[in-house]
C-alpha cells in the first residue's frame, strides 16, 4: 500500500509539469509570430513619443521663460538640470531624459524586433509583413539616432567627421558594451538604415505612426539637410513629396478649433513627438520671442493659428498652440518632431535655391505660403531677386513655419557651420547668458546614468 501511495505521488509530480505550464499573466507572451513583434512597434507611447524635439527646443531660441519662473525651476532639484540647460550653463548638468528616452524605447524596441525577426515563425505570404516590420524597426532606430546626433555630437562636417558621435546601439542584448562611434559612422549608420528601410517599407500605412516609404525619404531628406548635403536632401525631399504633397489650407482652420491643428492631419508623413518633462515649455510658462512673433504678417494665418495671447498680468505675451501632435493628449508641452510635407517643401525649396534654381525654390515656397495666407485677397506671391535672396527668404519662412518642431536647434548648428553667426542669448533679471556660434556647449552633455554605467562612453567636453 505504501507503494500505491508513492505511485499516486509520482502521478502527481508528472501531472505538475502541465500544471506549472500555466502562464501567470494572460498578457505576457513570448513572441512567436510577426504579429507579436508588430504590437511592440505599435506601442505609440514608446515608439512615437520619445523624440528629441523637446530638448532641442529647450535650448533653442523660439521662446523665453520669465525670470521668476526660471528661478523657481532652478530652486527645485527636479527642474535644476532643465534650468541650467536653458542658460547653457558651463558647469552644467545633463538633462538625462534627452539622452535616455530615445534609447529606452525606439532604439531598444527596434533592436528587439530586429533580433527577434529571424527567430519567429513566418508563414508563407507574410513576406510583406516581414519586410514592413524590418523596415519599420530600421526606420525608428535611425530616426532616433538622427535626433540624438543633433544634440550629442558635433554637427556633421568634414572637419568633424572623426569627432565623437553618438552610441550606435545595434543589439537588444542588455549586457553588450556601449561605445561612441564617430560623427561619420553615426551618419553612415543612419543613412544606411534609412536607405534599407526605403526598400522594405510599404507605400502607405494606415496611420502615420507606422512609417511608410515617404517617411523614410523624408527622414533621409532631413538627415542630409543636417549634413548640409543639399543635393541628396533635395532629391529625397522630392521623393517624399512624390508620395505625399498634401498641404492644409490654414483658412480651413478658422475659426480655430481646440486645438487648432489636429493630430494625424494630412500634412503628417510620420507622427512623432517628444513626451516632455520640461516645465519651461508648458503653455503657462513659455513666452514666444517677441521679435519672432512680430515677424508674422497680419495676414499670415500662422500668427493666429500658432499663437495665443496670455491674459492678465502677462497680457501682450504669447504662447504656442500650433503643435502638430494635435489633440493635446500628450500634455501641453509635447513637442511634435515628426515629418511633414511642409518641411519637405521647405527642404526642396532650400536645396533648389542653394543649387541656384531660384524659380523652383520660390515655386515651392509659394505653394506652401499660399496655404498659410488669409484668402481675404491680401495674398501676393513671394518673390526673390536671386537665388541667395530666395535662400534667405526660405530660411526665414522655414523658421516661422517649423517652430516648436525641434528643428530650430539643428538649423542653428548647421547654419553656424556655414558661418551664419547666430548667437543665442538669455536674459534673466539683467544677467545675460550667451551661446556663441559653434560653442563647445552646443554639444549637450550625455546623461549621468550613461557616464556612470558605461565606462567606455566619454562625456562631451565643457
Amino acid at each position: 500500500m505504501l507503494l500505491q501511495l508513492l505511485l499516486i505521488l509520482l502521478l502527481l509530480t508528472t501531472g505538475c509539469k502541465k500544471f506549472l505550464d500555466q502562464k501567470p499573466n494572460k498578457f505576457d507572451v513570448i513572441p512567436h509570430t510577426l504579429n507579436d513583434l508588430q504590437v511592440l512597434l505599435d506601442n505609440t507611447n514608446a515608439i512615437n513619443a520619445k523624440g528629441t524635439g523637446s530638448y532641442a527646443e529647450l535650448v533653442a531660441d523660439n521662446y523665453y521663460v520669465p525670470a521668476s519662473i526660471w528661478q523657481l525651476l532652478a530652486s527645485i532639484t527636479l527642474y535644476q538640470p532643465e534650468a541650467l540647460n536653458y542658460i547653457w550653463d558651463k558647469t552644467g548638468k545633463s538633462y538625462d531624459y534627452g539622452w535616455d528616452f530615445p534609447y529606452e524605447n525606439p532604439v531598444y524596441y527596434s533592436n528587439i524586433v530586429l533580433d527577434q525577426l529571424p527567430l519567429v515563425s513566418v508563414n508563407s505570404g507574410e513576406d510583406q509583413k516581414y519586410n514592413a516590420l524590418k523596415g519599420s524597426a530600421l526606420f525608428y532606430r535611425a530616426f532616433a539616432f538622427e535626433g540624438l546626433a543633433q544634440l550629442f555630437c558635433k554637427p556633421y562636417s568634414t572637419t568633424n567627421a572623426n569627432e565623437l558621435g553618438i552610441v550606435l546601439r545595434l543589439t537588444s542584448n542588455v549586457n553588450a558594451k556601449s561605445t561612441r562611434a564617430t560623427v561619420q559612422q553615426t551618419y553612415d549608420q543612419i543613412i544606411a538604415d534609412l536607405k534599407q528601410a526605403t526598400d522594405l517599407l510599404p507605400a502607405t500605412t494606415s496611420f502615420p505612426t507606422r512609417p511608410s516609404k515617404a517617411a523614410a525619404y523624408a527622414a533621409l531628406a532631413r538627415t542630409y539637410l543636417s549634413m548640409r548635403d543639399y543635393v541628396n536632401a533635395g532629391q529625397y525631399a522630392n521623393l517624399a513629396l512624390q508620395q505625399n504633397s498634401t498641404l492644409i489650407d490654414y483658412n480651413t482652420l478658422v475659426p480655430l478649433g481646440r486645438p487648432p491643428i489636429k493630430s494625424f492631419n494630412p500634412e503628417v508623413i510620420f507622427h512623432n513627438y517628444a513626451t516632455s518633462t520640461l516645465a519651461s515649455l508648458l503653455p503657462r510658462f513659455h513666452k514666444i520671442d517677441s521679435t519672432l512673433y512680430q515677424s508674422y504678417d497680419a495676414n499670415d494665418l500662422r500668427r493666429t493659428v500658432f499663437f495665443k495671447g496670455n491674459t492678465g498680468a502677462n497680457a501682450g505675451t504669447y504662447f504656442f498652440q500650433g503643435s502638430y501632435d494635435g489633440n493635446g493628449l500628450y500634455g501641453p508641452s509635447g513637442i511634435f518632431d515628426g515629418l511633414t510635407t511642409d518641411e519637405m517643401y521647405l527642404i526642396r525649396a532650400e536645396c533648389a535655391a542653394r543649387k541656384g534654381n531660384k524659380d523652383a525654390a520660390m515655386l515651392d515656397l509659394n505653394t506652401l505660403m499660399i496655404k498659410r495666407w488669409n484668402n481675404n485677397g491680401s495674398w501676393a506671391p513671394f518673390t526673390a531677386a536671386d537665388a541667395t535672396d530666395a535662400l534667405n527668404k526660405i530660411l526665414v519662412e522655414r523658421r516661422k513655419e517649423l517652430l516648436f518642431r525641434g528643428l530650430r536647434w539643428s538649423d542653428i548648428r548647421r547654419l553656424n557651420v556655414e558661418g551664419a553667426n547666430i548667437t543665442l542669448t538669455r536674459n534673466i533679471r539683467g544677467t545675460l547668458y550667451t551661446l556663441p556660434p559653434n560653442d563647445i556647449r552646443s554639444v549637450m552633455l550625455i546623461s549621468l546614468g550613461e557616464i556612470l554605467h558605461s565606462p567606455d562612453v566619454q562625456q562631451n567636453p565643457r
Binding site: L40, L72, D100
Partner: protein, 1223 residues
C-alpha cells in the same frame, strides 16, 4: 483512541484495549458516543468519504476491514455478538453459561463500523471482555482480576496494567507527557488524547509524569481493578504562557521535546492578553527575534524575523509567510478576515529546521496561526467574550510649528518682497492664495485702507486649524468586539463553533462605522477507529462605511472650518477663492470646498466577504502509519459603491471643469453631466490548496522512535480580478444614469486647470485579472529519537512554480535542512541537581525566497486596451531576460540551549544563529543606451548574525505568584556583496531604506558632517576634503567615509521584560520594551520659502534661526534669507541630512499594562458559569522610560524622509476593557 506506542509492548495491546473498556469509570464522556449522532447528514458524508478513500487507494486493505451495523436496545449480549459474527464472518468463542450469568443488556446503534469498534462499544459496560485472536476469532472471557488476589498476598511480585488519561487544569488532554515507572526503564508518552498505557507495572510502583510545560506529578499505582486513572497536571508557570506543549509547523504538530528547530510561540493566554489588536501585531514586543518597524515610510515589510534575508527587488516578497492552520494565507487575502478571538496560538518559525518545511517561501520566516478547534473527549463548553477599545484622538500638536501669528508675519514679509506676485497675477490657473496674502493684495490694489487690512489680518492671528480639527473633526476611535463560541467533543466527534461581531468607529466625527461579522466552525469525526475526517468553514462579512478625513496640513495654520456662528466655511482647493466666487457666474456649480460637508456627504460602502472551506481526512493504516489529505478553498471578494452626489466636491469639480458655456446643447454644455457620480468596483481572489501527507510514527524497541512525514502539495491562486466602473449623472433616487458619455474625444477646459487646453472625461472603467500563481511542492522530513534524549532531524523539499518562460528544470528549487538535539539532563552522567533540564539543539539548512515574476526569456506584455489613437493592440517589452535567474536561497545555522534551573524556578533558552542569503535578486544598473535601466540578476548576498536569549522566572510562589519573562534579541544584517556602482557616496545612505552597499549594514543611515553655521551668513556648513565647505553638491557625492556613517536605522537589539503578578484571581502584567543600537533622524526646518501655504513647513525651529552674526554661537538652525539663494534646494537638503539631526534612538518604553481578574466557580453549582474574567488593557502607552539622547520626537515613529510634513505622531494610546465568561 490508543497510543501507537502501546502496541509495541509485548504482552498484548489487545488485552489492554479490552481492559480499557471494562473499567472506564474515570475516563470521561464515554457514554456520549453511544448516542446516535443527530447530524445524520454529516455522518453520511463521513461514510461516503471513508468509502471513497478506501476504494481509491486501499483495496488491499479493504478485505481486512469488515464492517458491521448494529441497532439494538437492551438486547442480550449473545444476540449482539451473533449479529457481529454474521456480519463480519468472524469466528466467535464463548462460554454460554458465563454469558448468561454475567452479561448485561446492550444498547448500541452504529453503522458501518469496524468489528473492533463495535466490540469496544458492546463491551463497554460489560463485566466481560473480548480478545481477537489469530486473524478472525473473537474470544469472550471474564474480566480477569487475578492480580488483585496475588497482590494481596505478595505485592512485590504482582504486576498490573496501568492506563489512563492526562489532562490539564482545564480538562483538556495533554499530549506528550512522559510517563515513567520509577526505578525501572519503563516509560511511555501520552497520545494526542492524553491517553497512555503501561503494561505489567509492579503494583506498588510509582509513576512519574513529566512534561515540558507542566508540573511533574507522582502517582502511586493502586492495587486492583481501578487502574484506569485520570491525572490532572498543572501548567508549570500559569501566567507565563510562552512555554508550549507542541509546535505547530503548519504541517505537523511536534512535541517540543522532539523539535530541534527554533521557534517562539504566543499561546492562548499570551495571545489573548493583548486584546483589541490585529493578530500579527500581537507579536510586537512579546516574541524574541521578531522586530516591528514603525517608521512612517519605508520600502520594507513592517515585520522582520531575525533580520533581513532579501533586498526585496523585483517583487521578491519581503514579508514572512503567514500560515493559517494548514495552509499559507493566499495571495491577495487579508489577515483581518480572521477573527483574533478565534486564534488559539501564533507560532513563529525561525530557523531552517523549523521553517524549511515551507521551502522556497520561508526565507523571511514563517508565522503559523492556529485557530481554535474542538477536542475529543472534552465536555461541552460555551464561552462569551466582549471587549471595547477606545483610542485617543490623534495628537495634532506633536510636531511643533510656528504660531499662526508668526506665520502671518512671515507672509507679510514675503508679500512685501513680491514673493506672491506671480501667484497673485496668475490669471491663467488661479492658484490658491492664503487669506492674508489676499487681503494684502487688495490693500495694495487700493481696495482697502491699511487699517482695515491690518484689522482683518489681526483677527486671523488667533486661529489654529488644529483646534478646529480637534473640535469638529477628530474624536476618539472606538472599537468593540463581541464573540461567542462553543466547543466540545466525544470520543468520536469534536466540534467548535464561533461567531463574532466587531464594530469600529474611526477617529473622524460623523463618519459611519465599520462592521465585521465572522462565523467559524470546525468539526472532526472519527466514524471508525482509524479514520478521522475534519471539515471547517470560515465566513467573514465586512461592511465598511467609514470616511477618512483628508490631510489639511498643507494649508496655512489659521485655516478655519467654521465661522464663529458654526457655519461651514469654504477651504480653498485648487483655485483661488476669488476666482471660484466669480468664474462662470451663473454657469458653474458652486466650486467651494467644505471639508466638513464632505464627511456628511460621503456615501461609500464596501462589502467584503471571505469564505474559507477546509477539509481533511486521515486514515491510520496501522498504528504507525497514517495518511492524510487536506484541502482548502479560499475566496474573498469586495464590492465598493461610492456615490458622490452632486454636492460633493469631486462631482462639482469635474462638472465645472468641463462646463462649456458657449454651447447650448446640454450634452456639449455639460460633457460631464450635472448630477452625481457613482463609482462601483469589485474584486475577487480565489485560492486552492491540496496536500497529501504520509506520516510514519514507529517505535522500534524501547529506545528508538522514528517519525517520517512525506507529502506533496499543490496550490493554485487564480480567478482573481479587479474591476471598476464609473457612472456619470447618477441619480440615487431613480437609479438612472447617463450612458452616452464621450470618453474618446477631448473637450475644452474653459475653467479651472489649464483653461484653454482640452481634456478627456476620466472614464474610471477598468478590468484586470491578477496573476495566476501555482506552486507544486514535494517534501519529506524524518526525525529519529534515540533513548528519548537524542533527536535527529532532516528535511528536504522541492518547490516548483509556474514561472513563465523558464525551462521546466529551472522551475524547481530544492531545499533541505538537518538538525539534532541532545537532552543532556537525561544522561546518567549528568548529575547537576539544580539543573533539572538541559538540552542542546543545532540545525543547519536552507530556506528560500520565491519569485514568480521574473522570466528567463524575452517577454512582451499586451496592454489591456488598444491604442486610443490608432486602435491597434500594442504591447510593451518585458524586463530584460536573464535565463540564469534563480530563486534566492537563505542558509541558516542555529544553535540553541534550553534549560531549566533551580527546580524550574528559572527556565529559558539561548540561541545563536547565522543566516547567509545568496543569489539575492538585485538590480544591476545598466547604461541607458542598453534600453533598460536595470538588469535583474542574482548578484547580492547578505549575512545576518544574531542571538536570542529568553528567560522565564518564577520569583515567588504561594498566594502571590510573581513571574518574569525576559527576552533579548540581536540581529545584524550586512550586505556582503552587491553589484552596484552607486553606494559609496554619502547621499546614498541618507534615507530610511535598504541601502545595499557591500560591507554595510543593510539599513544603514549616514549624514553630512556638520561644521556649524557660517558666522557671516548663517549658511549651514559641512566638510569637504577636510575643509569647511559650502559646496553642498560635492559633499553629497563625497565618499561616505569622509562624512558620517552612523549605523543602523533599525534596532540591532530589542528586548522586553514582562512582569506578571497574580494574587487570588487578580493578575497584573506590565510589559516594558527596549530597542537599542540604532539611529533616527529628527525632522528639520525647511529652509525654503517655496511651499508658501504649508503650515508644517515652518517648524518651531524657525524661532531659533540664525538672524545676525553671533547667533551661530547658540544655534544650529541656519538663516532663512530672502530672496532665496539659487542653491536653496541643496542648502536645504544638506541641512536636513546633516549630522546634527541624527540621534541615537535607543529607548526603553512602557508598552502596555494588563490587569485582569478571574473568578473560577469551583463550588457554586447554581451559578451557570465556570469562570469569569475581566480585564483592562492600556496599550500603545509609548511612555519612554529612558532614551539615549534627548529629543522631543519618538524615535520609533520618526517619519521616513525626515521632512517636516512626514512627521508621524506615535500611534495614539488605546484602552481596552472586556470580559470573558466560560460556561
Amino acid at each position: 483512541m490508543f497510543n501507537p506506542s502501546d502496541r509495541s509492548h509485548p504482552g498484548g495491546p489487545k488485552r489492554f484495549k479490552a481492559m480499557q473498556f471494562t473499567a472506564n469509570g474515570q475516563t470521561c464522556s464515554m457514554k456520549k458516543e453511544q448516542r446516535p449522532h443527530p447530524k445524520l447528514k454529516m455522518l453520511l458524508i463521513m461514510q461516503f468519504t471513508a468509502i471513497l478513500l478506501l476504494a481509491a487507494c486501499l483495496q488491499v486493505y479493504a478485505k481486512g476491514v469488515a464492517q458491521v451495523t448494529l441497532s439494538e436496545k437492551k438486547a442480550p449480549l449473545e444476540k449482539v455478538l451473533l449479529s457481529i459474527k454474521k456480519q463480519s464472518g468472524y469466528g466467535l468463542v464463548y462460554d454460554e453459561q458465563m454469558l448468561q450469568r454475567k452479561a448485561r443488556p446492550v444498547d448500541i446503534n452504529v453503522r458501518d463500523v469496524s468489528v473492533e469498534q463495535a466490540l469496544q462499544l458492546v463491551f463497554q459496560n460489560q463485566p466481560l471482555t473480548y480478545e481477537i485472536a489469530g486473524n478472525r476469532l473473537i474470544f469472550i472471557k471474564e474480566k480477569e482480576i487475578p492480580q488483585k488476589k496475588i497482590s494481596e498476598s505478595a505485592p512485590l511480585l504482582s504486576a498490573t496494567d496501568v492506563h489512563g488519561r492526562v489532562v490539564n487544569e482545564k480538562g483538556d488532554p495533554v499530549e506528550g507527557v512522559n510517563v515513567l515507572v520509577k526505578g525501572t526503564k519503563m516509560r511511555t508518552q501520552t497520545n494526542v488524547n492524553g491517553e497512555f498505557s503501561l503494561p505489567g507495572v509492579a503494583s506498588n510502583a510509582t509513576l512519574l509524569f513529566t512534561h515540558v510545560s507542566m508540573e511533574s506529578f507522582e502517582y502511586k499505582v493502586q492495587d486492583g481493578s481501578t487502574n484506569d486513572i485520570l491525572i490532572k497536571l498543572k501548567a508549570k508557570i500559569t501566567a507565563l504562557g510562552e512555554i508550549a506543549v507542541t509546535v505547530n509547523t503548519g504541517y505537523q504538530k511536534v512535541s517540543q521535546e522532539r523539535f530541534v528547530g527554533s521557534f517562539s510561540q504566543l499561546d492562548s493566554n499570551a495571545f489573548h492578553r493583548r486584546a483589541g489588536m490585529g493578530i500579527i501585531e500581537r507579536l510586537d514586543g512579546t516574541v524574541p527575534g521578531v522586530l516591528f518597524n514603525k517608521k512612517g515610510t519605508t520600502s520594507f515589510s513592517p515585520i522582520q524575523i531575525r533580520g533581513i534575508s532579501t533586498l526585496g527587488i523585483q517583487q521578491t516578497s519581503t514579508d514572512p509567510l503567514v500560515v493559517v492552520d494548514n495552509f499559507p494565507m493566499g495571495t491577495g487575502f487579508d489577515m483581518n478576515n480572521i477573527n483574533p478571538n478565534d486564534v488559539e496560538s501564533v507560532t513563529v518559525l525561525k530557523d531552517a529546521a523549523a521553517a524549511s518545511i515551507w521551502g522556497s517561501r520561508a526565507g523571511n520566516g514563517v508565522i503559523v496561526v492556529t485557530t481554535k478547534k474542538g477536542k475529543y473527549n472534552q465536555r461541552f463548553r460555551l464561552s462569551v467574550s466582549s471587549n471595547v477599545t477606545i483610542q485617543n484622538k490623534p495628537n495634532l500638536f506633536y510636531y511643533p510649528r510656528v504660531s499662526s501669528s508668526d506665520f502671518i508675519n512671515i507672509e507679510q514679509f514675503l508679500f512685501s518682497q513680491g514673493f506672491y506676485d506671480d501667484d497673485i497675477n496668475n490669471t491663467y490657473t488661479y492658484p490658491v492664495i492664503s487669506p492674508v496674502v489676499e487681503i494684502l493684495a487688495r490693500q495694495r490694489a487700493g481696495l482697502f485702507s491699511s487699517d482695515i487690512a491690518a484689522k482683518q489680518i489681526d483677527s486671523l492671528r488667533k486661529y489654529d486649524i488644529r483646534n478646529d480639527l480637534n473640535k469638529y473633526v477628530y474624536r476618539q476611535a472606538f472599537q468593540q468586539q463581541h464573540y461567542f463560541a462553543f466547543s466540545g467533543g466525544s470520543n468520536t466527534l469534536a466540534y467548535q463553533f464561533s461567531a463574532g461581531y466587531n464594530h469600529s468607529l474611526n477617529s473622524t466625527q460623523n463618519s459611519k462605522g465599520d462592521n465585521q461579522y465572522t462565523i467559524n466552525t470546525n468539526t472532526s469525526f472519527r466514524p471508525i477507529n482509524d479514520l478521522e475526517i475534519q471539515a471547517g468553514i470560515g465566513f467573514t462579512l465586512g461592511e465598511n462605511r467609514s470616511y477618512n478625513f483628508p490631510d489639511l496640513s498643507y494649508y496655512y495654520p489659521y485655516l478655519r472650518l467654521t465661522d464663529d456662528g458654526g457655519n461651514l466655511l469654504p477651504v480653498p482647493k485648487n483655485y483661488r477663492q476669488g476666482y471660484i466666487d466669480t468664474a462662470g457666474a451663473g454657469v458653474l456649480l458652486n466650486w467651494s470646498y467644505r471639508p466638513l460637508d464632505e464627511i456628511r456627504l460621503a456615501d461609500i460602502h464596501t462589502t467584503a466577504k471571505y469564505v474559507s472551506l477546509n477539509f481533511g481526512i486521515s486514515y491510520k493504516f496501522t498504528d504507525w502509519l497514517t495518511a492524510a489529505l487536506h484541502y482548502q478553498y479560499q475566496n474573498s471578494s469586495a464590492n465598493t459603491r461610492n456615490y458622490q452626489n452632486q454636492q460633493t466636491w469631486l462631482s462639482r469639480n469635474l462638472i465645472n471643469q468641463f462646463t462649456n458655456p458657449f454651447q447650448t446643447n446640454p450634452d456639449l454644455r455639460y460633457p460631464v453631466p450635472v448630477g452625481g457620480i457613482l463609482d462601483v468596483s469589485s474584486g475577487q481572489f480565489k485560492n486552492y490548496n491540496l496536500r497529501g501527507t504520509l506520516n510514519l510514527n514507529k517505535r522500534l524497541g524501547r529506545e528508538h522512535l522514528l517519525t517520517v512525514l512525506a507529502g506533496a502539495e499543490i496550490s493554485d491562486s487564480k480567478g482573481g480580478y479587479g474591476s471598476n466602473q464609473r457612472l456619470y449623472g447618477y441619480n440615487d433616487q431613480t437609479g438612472s444614469y447617463k450612458t452616452n458619455i464621450d470618453y474618446l474625444n477631448p473637450y475644452p477646459n474653459i475653467y479651472g486647470t489649464y483653461p484653454g487646453t482640452v481634456g478627456y472625461i476620466p472614464s474610471n472603467n477598468g478590468y484586470a485579472e491578477s496573476a495566476i500563481n501555482r506552486f507544486v511542492s514535494i517534501m519529506a522530513n524524518a526525525s529519529y529519537t534515540y533513548k528519548s534524549r537524542y533527536n535527529f532531524y532532516a528535511s528536504a523539499r522541492k518547490d516548483g512554480s509556474n514561472v513563465y518562460g523558464v525551462n521546466t528544470n529551472n522551475k524547481w528549487k530544492p531545499l533541505w535542512s538537518t538538525g539534532a538535539s541532545w537532552d543532556i539532563s537525561k544522561e546518567d552522567f549528568f548529575k547537576v541537581k539544580w539543573v533539572p533540564f538541559l538540552r542542546l539543539r543545532a540545525s543547519h539548512g536552507y530556506t528560500g525566497n520565491a519569485n514568480n515574476t521574473i522570466s528567463g526569456k524575452f517577454i512582451i506584455s499586451y496592454a489591456a486596451s488598444p491604442d486610443p489613437n490608432t486602435g491597434f493592440p500594442f504591447a510593451r517589452a518585458g524586463r530584460a531576460p536573464n535565463p540564469d535567474l534563480k530563486w534566492e536561497e537563505v542558509k541558516i545555522d542555529n544553535i540553541g540551549l534550553d534549560f531549566q534551573l533551580l527546580k524550574n524556578r528559572i527556565s529559558g533558552s539561548l540561541e545563536v544563529f547565522q543566516k547567509r542569503s545568496k543569489d539575492v535578486i538585485a538590480d544591476k544598473r545598466t547604461p541607458p543606451t542598453s534600453g533598460v535601466f536595470v538588469f535583474t540578476l542574482n548578484y547580492a548576498s547578505m549575512k545576518t548574525n544574531g542571538f536570542e536569549l529568553s528567560l522565564n522566572s518564577k520569583n515567588t510562589q504561594g498566594p502571590v505568584v510573581w513571574t518574569t519573562n525576559f527576552a533579548l534579541s540581536h540581529a545584524k544584517t550586512i550586505v556582503t556583496n552587491v553589484n552596484t556602482s552607486i553606494g559609496s557616496k554619502a547621499r546614498d545612505f541618507v534615507d530610511y531604506n535598504i541601502n545595499a552597499v557591500p560591507g554595510r549594514i543593510v539599513y544603514g543611515i549616514s549624514s553630512y558632517r556638520w561644521a556649524g553655521l557660517d558666522p557671516a551668513t548663517g549658511d549651514p556648513q559641512g566638510y569637504y576634503k577636510g575643509q569647511v565647505s559650502k559646496n553642498y553638491q560635492s559633499i553629497f557625492t563625497d565618499s561616505v567615509q569622509n562624512q558620517v556613517f552612523h549605523g543602523s536605522a533599525l534596532p540591532l537589539y530589542s528586548a522586553f521584560i514582562r512582569n506578571n503578578i497574580s494574587w487570588k484571581g487578580f493578575t497584573l502584567s506590565v510589559n516594558i520594551t527596549g530597542r537599542f543600537d540604532y539611529y533616527f533622524r529628527q525632522p528639520a526646518l525647511t529652509l525654503d520659502y517655496s511651499p508658501t501655504m504649508a503650515s508644517t513647513s515652518y517648524s518651531a525651529d524657525y524661532y531659533n534661526r540664525w538672524q545676525k552674526p553671533g547667533d551661530e554661537a547658540f544655534t544650529n538652525v541656519p538663516s532663512m534669507p530672502y530672496p532665496v539663494p539659487s542653491a536653496v534646494s541643496q542648502r536645504n537638503t544638506f541641512y536636513r541630512f546633516a549630522e546634527i539631526h541624527v540621534k541615537r534612538a535607543d529607548n526603553i518604553r512602557l508598552q502596555d499594562i494588563s490587569l485582569s481578574y478571574q473568578w473560577n466557580n469551583e463550588k457554586n453549582k447554581r451559578i451557570p458559569f465556570q469562570s469569569i474574567r475581566f480585564f483592562f488593557y492600556p496599550n500603545n502607552l509609548n511612555l519612554i522610560l529612558w532614551r539615549a539622547s534627548g529629543s522631543r520626537y519618538d524615535p520609533d515613529f520618526s517619519g521616513g524622509s525626515g521632512d517636516g510634513d512626514a512627521v508621524t505622531a506615535p500611534v495614539p494610546k488605546t484602552w481596552t476593557t472586556g470580559m470573558t465568561i466560560n460556561f
